[in-house]
Symmetry: C2
Subunit: 174 residues, 2 copies
């Protein structure tokens, strides 16, 4: 299965509404829960996705599409949201994410990318040569990974409360 | 963390909208994908949740609350949705799940449960004695587990398409 622009966008454009449905108006006990030091709460997950909209996917795609002499990406800060989300409410983050994502999808659509362009390469600071198609597929999989992570972190709040059912709920043991 | 009725309902009432945001109108390639034989696609996940609304959570809670002489639950059929979802569209399932869940939350709220009642017991056919509080906490965690599973199954469609980024996406390797 290789990256498909129409199918990829179908997921990308749904992610803000998925997070809104899951998290908007939810008690803080759910949105602030995490899996221990240096792990993401649901609130952190949304902040992390916002940072990606600003600094990762579209900026990296631009570097690849420009095909300049320096195609090396700026390293990504996985903990930028700790600083950037400070003092914000979940609703602020959900709105900001939805707005940035809509802008970025409009940019992506406007490029009218061809299969030839999906094969263009950039340089990841750690992974080395990567293609535009791989970058865009990663954008999609990364979204879905954070949906899964957010649901898992929330589920684990009830790891003890479920009693013996824990044996039937693999999400609690990851 | 023990089960809290208000916080638990806050999750339960959001789950249908979360699945709708994630899956409604999505190309079949996403909703029919699975992780191999006898694993659930996103479509199967919604069907499975519907079956739970009909046969699991509220019926089992009724058995516990009645405190009759036989408190043994009917075994749950994890693959009932293969039969029950046949010929239905994703939108049918999303609507059916939303309707059943709303009815079941209304039932749950109408019981005005007390802490004393959360300690009442029923008998799980395999796990033995379980409490009403554990059953309701499991309902919540089970929802979230299926959100996580659905997102993971979708993400794995791009396991190869992401190229070297796979190393950074644990959701692709579960």
């Amino acid at each position: 299965m290789s990256f498909d622009l129409t199918e990829g966008i179908a997921v990308l454009e749904r992610t803000p509404a998925t997070f809104r449905a899951l998290l908007a108006g939810l008690p803080d006990g759910w949105t602030a829960a995490n899996e221990g030091p240096d792990t993401f709460s649901p609130f952190d997950n949304v902040g992390h996705l916002i940072h990606g909209e600003r600094t990762d996917w579209i900026p990296r795609a631009r570097i690849i599409l420009a095909q300049g002499t320096n195609r090396r990406f700026t390293p990504y800060d996985r903990f930028a949201q700790v600083r950037e989300s400070q003092g914000k409410a979940m609703d602020d983050l959900l709105n900001e994410f939805a707005r940035l994502r809509a802008e970025n999808i409009a940019t992506l659509r406007g490029w009218n990318l061809t299969d030839r362009q999906f094969a263009l390469e950039g340089e990841h600071p750690e992974l080395g040569r990567v293609t535009l198609g791989q970058l865009l597929a990663t954008w999609v999989a990364h979204d879905l990974g954070h949906v899964a992570q957010t649901a898992r972190v929330m589920a684990k709040r009830y790891r003890d409360a479920v009693g013996p059912w824990r044996a039937y709920l693999p999400v609690l043991n990851r």
